[in-house]
């Protein structure tokens, strides 16, 4: 075991590099799966919460809606309002004690992160939907679109763009917060680092490596998402279309002449 700090870091890396690597892999795995499913849950809950209900709707629909809406609100408030670490213990041990369900550790990990992210995302999605100018919804209604069509083709694509930064935020939070899952025995980056550190009592060195790895993971993800966002915005310029063949050379694009049907093959 080398005596200097950097020497020990290199020693740990060469000996336990794979432990760190596998831990990081597990962390990313849980964070990504949790974020993706969390987003799906969040979209579902958020969209249901923004369904308009008017006094003219039938009583059954209104009652049904208020029950569903109460349950969804309860879900959001409970999972947002309690620590994920406590939820992990509660769900993992509670499910076997109360319902005799023996979740696998991994399933529990995915489940807990997803449902947690879902609770946060629900509010984010709701905000994203509300952020779209109601005029566009009226525009869609005016050409005969139903509420569902309006959501799918007009509102959600724009809401998704607006909440992309928040999705990125959640991914980064999840990458960091998976470390609380070590409490139910998931061997992710934090758990792996603790193991390495404990072997030679090199806590400072081991966790220096861990810090760097966490940072690389989160920073890379945030950059990738930024590129993704820019791509969603599309180009800032557009091509003018024309049927004038001379203009093609100046960079204009061609479209079929509506008066001359032979042209569009």
């Amino acid at each position: 075991m080398p005596q200097d700090f950097f020497g020990r870091i290199i020693y740990l890396l060469s000996r336990y590099g794979m432990s760190f690597f596998n831990g990081a892999l597990q962390t990313m795995n849980i964070a990504l799966v949790g974020t993706i499913f969390g987003c799906i849950i969040g979209f579902a809950v958020g969209v249901v919460q923004t369904i308009p209900v008017s006094k003219n709707d039938s009583l059954v629909k209104r009652i049904l809606y208020s029950i569903v809406s109460f349950l969804l609100n309860a879900y959001v408030e409970i999972f947002r309002g309690t620590p994920m670490m406590v939820q992990a213990m509660f769900i993992y041990y509670g499910s076997s004690a109360l319902f005799n369900i023996n979740m696998s550790m991994m399933f529990a990990a995915y489940f807990i992160v997803s449902i947690n992210t879902g609770a946060y995302m629900a509010e984010t999605v709701r905000g994203g939907v509300l952020s779209i100018d109601p005029g566009q919804e009226e525009g869609a209604k005016a050409i005969g679109m139903t509420h569902v069509q309006t959501m799918i083709y007009v509102i959600l694509p724009q809401a998704l763009r607006n909440i992309m930064p928040q999705i990125g935020n959640n991914l980064i939070i999840n990458i960091k917060d998976t470390c609380v899952l070590s409490i139910i025995g998931i061997v992710e980056l934090f758990f792996a680092s603790k193991g390495v550190a404990g072997t030679y009592y090199t806590y400072f060195e081991a966790f220096t490596i861990t810090m760097v790895i966490y940072f690389i993971l989160t920073f890379t993800c945030s950059r990738i998402l930024r590129v993704f966002e820019n791509r969603m915005d599309g180009p800032d310029s557009y091509d003018l279309a024309t049927t004038d063949t001379l203009a093609y050379t100046s960079g204009m694009v061609r479209f079929p002449d509506p008066k001359n049907n032979k042209e569009d093959k």
Partner: protein, 248 residues
Amino acid sequence: MENRDVLLKISHLSKTFGKNAVLKDIDFTVKKGDVTCIIGASGSGKSTLLRCINLLETPTTGSILFKDRDIMDKNGDPAAYRAQVGMVFQNFNLFNNMNVIENCTVGQTKVLKKSAEEARKKALYYLEKVGMLPYINAKPRQLSGGQKQRVAIARALSMEPVLLLFDEPTSALDPQMVGEVLDVMKRLAKEGLTMIIVTHEMAFARDVSSHVVFMADGVIEEEGSVSEIFYNPKSFVTKEFLSRFMRE
């Protein structure tokens, strides 16, 4: 003047927001091919009336018959009705996530269930009509107000509506853009499209209307032909409202 020419018949329509009565007992009829301009001061209920016609607002009482069918019928399908009645808004309300051509095809493919090719052909036809053909690849945020409004008109026309509603289509535009939008609307009027137009452009209303409705304080103060309303108004309120304009 036969009954079958009647496209839209509104009777005893009223709309209240809380305690505030915005429309009181409105009656009026639109025949096929009519260009009806609704004029009046701001806050007189013009826009609310138009929004009631498209069911964007639910009328409090009264009935609206479209082709002799009550559109407020509980078993009716407001979306199917709206697909036949186009609307152009003051603030354009284009879909910002789509480019110009997509704005004009999405309703055709998703609501009218037309094929993509057919929808595109129709959209190109109407975009040419409003002079926006070169801009089919542009996003709404890249267009000027007048261009956006012309696209919005093309979007409404692409659905080939039986009736087209305009809610102050030029109020958010500068004078030059107002001209380009009004020109398009004049052409549509000449082609015989049935339109109801809420507007503050008096000269335009005088030139294109076949029927003028003057509203004040939530009621139809006076209605009639252009010469009746603009040159021989009977009501004192109408006279006063138009006097400022007629002097110019």
